[in-house]
């Protein structure tokens, strides 16, 4: 990434309080690799020409790293804030400004001599904003989300870079699954269309991998039930099936509940319906913490604040 940014969340306090901010900008044609894509900060995609603002006065003598969030890697973490994208040559969705819990990522220089006036004021606002976030909660990182498999279906499609679909994608799967995969862009897309809603990771030793951090498995139970593992409707169906008549589906549903409901919040008495009535507004499905239905950090923050009352 260079000195530019786009997709700024301009109504956020970091661009408004306590200092007003304004940025010079350049108009550019949409890069080919952004075509047809959306991101949390570009929910309708990028128009044919779009505006990039200057965070630094000129191109740095090197590169600034971005947080890769293609089409929302982290949007399933309650409270995560996408605040600006960097000018990435890879794909849309590379964050230059972002907050998760007590951590803020500033993807540009912090040297006021390099920053534009708008960026300098934004940096001050970030300091101000973050001091309010001392008690912000988030979840620990356990594994990469499944989104990376989708990214491989797009990354390099227009530039001829094939290592993603030929090497990284298959080697991110458990060995048995690799025979279901054809190492090409088309093969990757076909695999993703069929299996992605049922992919999980981060739970067993077999999911750990030194090279790729984690390997992905396909949940045959969730797939047989036609229940994407991150959907609330699926959770509610598993709960209904789990108390139903004995049979294959009940077994599958019970295994799914055990697999995806975090041990810290499972019902001790096995009464999933009562449990869900109590927890439905408190829980969220989060992939990067290990593909769990778990207490939302935003809810925990709110409850902690309420204890003062």
């Amino acid at each position: 990434m260079d000195h530019l940014g786009h997709g700024l969340a301009l109504d956020h306090p970091i661009f408004n309080s306590p200092h007003a901010t304004s940025f010079d900008h350049v108009q550019k044609a949409r890069p080919k690799q952004y075509e047809g894509l959306k991101s949390p900060l570009h929910p309708k995609g990028v128009p044919e020409t779009y505006r990039l603002v200057l965070f630094e006065k000129d191109k740095p003598d090197g590169w600034n790293p971005t947080i890769v969030s293609h089409e929302g890697y982290f949007t399933d973490i309650p409270g995560f804030e996408n605040l600006a994208e960097g000018n990435s040559s890879k794909m849309l969705g590379s964050l230059s400004l972002a907050r998760q819990g007590r951590y803020f990522y500033w993807g540009y220089s912090a040297d006021p001599a390099r920053l534009t006036a708008g960026a300098r004021m934004t940096l001050l606002n970030v300091i101000h904003y973050m001091h309010w976030n001392r008690n912000s909660l988030t979840v620990p990182f356990v594994c990469r989300t499944r989104k990376i498999l989708w990214v491989y279906t797009r990354l390099g499609r227009d530039t001829g870079y094939k290592r993603g679909v030929e090497e990284h994608f298959p080697n991110s799967l458990l060995p048995d699954l690799r025979k279901t995969y054809t190492p090409s862009f088309e093969g990757a897309s076909t695999w993703v269309d069929k299996y992605l809603p049922y992919v999980f990771s981060g739970k067993e030793p077999r999911h750990r991998n030194a090279r790729y951090k984690n390997l992905y498995e396909v949940d045959s139970d969730a797939m047989a039930l036609g229940t994407p593992n991150d959907s609330r409707k699926s959770l509610e169906r598993w709960i209904r099936l789990a108390r139903g008549a004995a049979g294959e589906d009940r077994g599958r549903a019970r295994r799914c509940l055990e697999r995806y409901v975090h041990p810290d919040i499972r019902p001790e008495d096995g009464d999933w319906e009562k449990w869900y009535a109590r927890q439905r507004g408190r829980i969220a499905f989060i992939e990067s913490s290990g593909f769990w239905w778990q207490e939302s950090p935003v809810v925990l923050e709110r409850e902690a604040a309420a204890k003062v009352r």
Partner: protein
């Protein structure tokens, strides 16, 4: 000027002097046997209640009806600093004119205050169903510059040099109290004692040799961290935060 105009003028003067902002009241049922006004400052939310003759609310649970409560709603930039201050009343009953005060603490940068006042009104014979009203208002930050002046920033760098001096000078010019430490010197207690830690980074491979190893051992502080650039991504990853997991 008649008596009511004098009273209004007096109220306005008091509101301005105390930094109180009027709160909008929504949802008070027409049959509620009381009148209500509310205002708030950065420190407290004040409700002035006047009961119709013969009616009362409950200050505490005496077995007759729900006691009064005021709770902050989601989306507000405030939390309650202490429990609601309620007059004792007579045998737990609140009659006539009385004031409820909720001590507040600002918890966010925005100005919105939204609260719910819940109560049950009774006369000697019967109680009306529980009622609640929503109070909304906008409370500007008091002495905005003063808040910023109090902020203590710990600037952590690979080496104290002209760059760190520029950052420190810039923050100082804008009222931030900045202390500089290197990645070799920084301690958890110094981080914890700061309002915000800014972990700086030069461009990739341009920081002092050995910086990355020090960043990987960065103290797990309870203070918020603004993590900059390359070393920032390493720090966030070392602290087990998901947002740097997306590298390809």
């Amino acid at each position: 000027m008649n008596a009511s105009t004098w009273l209004l003028t007096l109220c306005l003067l008091w509101t301005t002097a105390a930094g109180q902002q009027p709160m909008e009241i929504v949802g008070l049922p027409a049959n509620a046997p009381l009148t209500l006004s509310a205002s708030a400052s950065n420190d407290e939310l004040t409700l002035d209640v006047k009961m119709k003759p013969g009616w009362h609310l409950y200050a505490k649970d005496v077995g007759g009806g729900e006691p009064v409560s005021v709770t902050i709603e989601e989306g507000a930039a405030f939390t309650a600093r202490k429990p609601l201050v309620v007059p004792k009343g007579t045998a737990g009953k609140l009659t006539g004119a009385f004031r409820l005060v909720l001590p507040l603490k600002r918890s966010g940068p925005r100005d919105a205050l939204k609260a719910r006042f819940a109560f049950m009104a009774c006369d000697p014979i019967e109680c009306l169903p529980p009622m609640s009203v929503t109070l909304t208002g906008s409370i500007p930050q008091a002495h905005e510059q003063g808040v910023e002046e109090r902020l203590k920033v710990l600037l952590v760098v690979d080496v104290a040099d002209s760059r760190s001096q520029r950052i420190s000078d810039f923050f100082g010019k804008h009222g931030l109290a900045t202390t500089v430490a290197t990645y070799w010197e920084v301690t958890k207690s110094a981080c914890d004692a700061s309002d915000v830690v800014l972990a700086d980074s030069k461009l990739f491979r341009k920081s002092v040799k050995g910086s990355r190893a020090r960043v990987l051992a960065f103290p797990k502080t309870s203070s918020p961290i603004v993590a900059v650039g390359f070393l920032g991504t390493e720090l966030i990853e070392a602290h087990g935060i998901a947002m740097t997991s997306g590298y390809i």
